[in-house]
């Protein structure tokens, strides 16, 4: 961090505080330029691009299947959801019908990944507010979930599980039992989480009423996902603009009204329970069958364009895909929820004390891989 003093136009001394790109709590390589008047922030300017890898350009020189493998690295916490949106977009261009079992497996994996993401959020958010134990607890449960992923697709983070027209592998023996146990274990651990963090008075003091986002701001800044629903807008793409077979499942869309850091935290905790509910339903509904539709070996969708929206744990994850009839996409654009949710920082950080910056940043839940792409 470098500090220096500047004079603003009225002659008051302000300080420029440079936070990041290497900072333990910025969730990666985000840089925040903060102009401070004492402890209060006058102006905040996020500076991104420290992880800009040019993935949208690279997509144009990779095949569609390789693009699914590359999409693991968009948002590396929710790789399954990235796989999902890429596969859906290609399938929309191709117009293939996906076998029932593959649909269920996709939803199972996407929801498991939602659980993993929200566990990580829980850990990192509590860590940002000074509670280390929560992160250790969170990672303990995450390892259990990763073991499930590993047994299905053979990797811990970059799964590459989805194929155009289905999924790559069927479940191994004993998976359903293990996943059922995981859901049961997770339910009991969630009670621990509430005892440990949610009910803690220090935690509440540092998050209740901090970083309020109004309904109008949510719409103006196109925020999505838990950040949107924490401000009282009930909109979930899984319900309102449904895709895959989500309409067969019974789950609630939780909403909170205040839009502060605590509500955004609670949103994730409530969504985690809903995701567990969906996983349980999938495990019951699974029936043997095909897992891969008949698609040509070299995928060449007809020329055209498709825009697919999905609900990733971070918000609205959408993909705009243009095909020109060759084996590589002509243009691939990711509507990254973290990228768009992060814009609100410029607005809500103004007038906030510097100690709350990390709380607000943590509550928005960003992954820099997705912000910069």
């Amino acid at each position: 961090m470098t500090e220096n003093t500047l004079k603003d136009k009225d002659g008051f001394e302000t300080m420029y505080l440079n936070m990041g790109p290497q900072h333990p709590s910025t969730h990666g390589v985000l840089r925040l330029g903060l102009v401070l008047d004492g402890e209060v922030i006058i102006k905040a300017e996020p500076d991104i691009g420290y992880l800009h890898r040019g993935m949208e350009k690279l997509a144009e020189s990779r095949t569609y299947q390789a693009n699914i493998a590359m999409s693991d690295r968009f948002d590396y916490v929710t790789s399954m959801n990235n796989n999902f949106v890429t596969a859906l977009a290609v399938e929309k261009l191709l117009g293939v019908e996906i076998p029932k079992r593959a649909q269920y497996l996709r939803i199972l994996m996407a929801e498991l990944n939602r659980v993993v993401n929200h566990i990580l959020f829980f850990g990192f958010f509590a860590m940002d507010l000074g509670a280390t134990t929560a992160l250790i607890f969170g990672f303990r449960e995450r390892e259990e979930a990763l073991e499930l992923f590993e047994s299905v697709c053979g990797a811990r983070l970059t799964y590459n599980y989805f194929r155009v027209g289905g999924v790559s592998r069927d479940l191994p023996a004993g998976f359903i039992e293990k996943a059922g146990n995981f859901v049961k274990m997770m339910r009991s651990r969630l009670k621990d989480y509430d005892d440990l963090v949610t009910g803690n008075v220090i935690f509440q003091d540092r998050s209740v009423g901090i970083g309020r986002i109004s309904k109008e701001d949510v719409l103006a800044y196109s925020l999505s996902g838990p950040v949107m629903r924490a401000s009282g807008i009930k909109y979930d793409i899984r319900k309102d603009d449904t895709y895959s077979v989500y309409r067969e499942f019974d789950f609630e869309v939780p909403v909170r009204e205040n839009g502060d850091c605590f509500d955004r935290y609670m949103m994730r905790m409530l969504e985690l329970r809903e995701a567990l509910k969906i996983i349980e339903q999938v495990l019951i509904k699974l029936e043997p069958g095909e897992i891969l539709a008949k698609v040509p070996k070299i995928i060449k969708p007809p020329a055209g364009e498709a825009y697919v929206r999905t609900e990733s744990p971070k918000g609205e994850l959408a993909l705009y895909l243009v095909s020109d009839g060759t084996a590589n996409p002509y243009r691939l654009h990711l509507r990254a929820p973290s990228f768009i949710n992060l814009q609100i920082l410029q607005k809500i950080l103004t007038g906030v004390k510097v100690a709350d910056v990390i709380a607000i940043l943590g509550s928005i839940d960003i992954t820099l891989g997705e912000v910069d792409r």
Partner: protein, 151 residues
């Protein structure tokens, strides 16, 4: 097809607007191709008509021209609408919609950075993702780059 109603309304009001190749768009969302000078007015009209959510803004290089695509959604009724603008490749300029949708801020900066589209009216148009002083616009199809010390 509720959105078609708005589409026809716009086509009547602003001369030069047309449907944008519906056979290309696979998800069935009505798309509008509008001339660049009218864009701001059309978006203003759409916002007044209840399209309160800007889903996405991105640009594509079609070798002969640049295309900017806006995806709008009305959250209450869940009606979606796509607006497309074709721009000259040599001197691409398009009115910024950031005053209407503050969420377009970074997306326009991204298009400026990666495709070199200029958005007059944007409050702070500078590069976002690439380092300062980067030459060229990587997402253009004819982009080529000299190897530097990191390659």
């Amino acid at each position: 097809m509720d959105a078609q109603k708005y589409l026809n309304e716009i086509k009547g009001r602003f001369p030069g607007t047309a449907d944008a190749a519906p056979e290309r768009i696979k998800d069935g969302v009505p798309a509008l191709l509008c001339p660049a000078p009218f864009l701001f007015e059309i978006v203003k009209y759409l916002k007044a008509e209840g399209f309160n959510y800007l889903m996405d803004l991105c640009a594509t290089d079609y070798r002969d021209s640049l295309e900017v695509i806006y995806h709008f959604c009305a959250l209450e009724t869940n009606v979606k609408l796509t607006v497309k603008v074709r721009l000259d490749r040599e001197k691409p300029e398009l009115a910024s919609i950031t005053p209407l949708y503050p969420g377009a801020d970074w997306q326009e900066r991204e298009a400026f950075d990666l495709l070199g589209i200029n958005f007059p009216g944007h409050p702070d148009l500078k590069n976002l993702l690439l380092p300062c002083g980067w030459e060229g616009h990587p997402l253009r199809k004819d982009y080529s780059r000299k190897p530097d010390q990191y390659d």
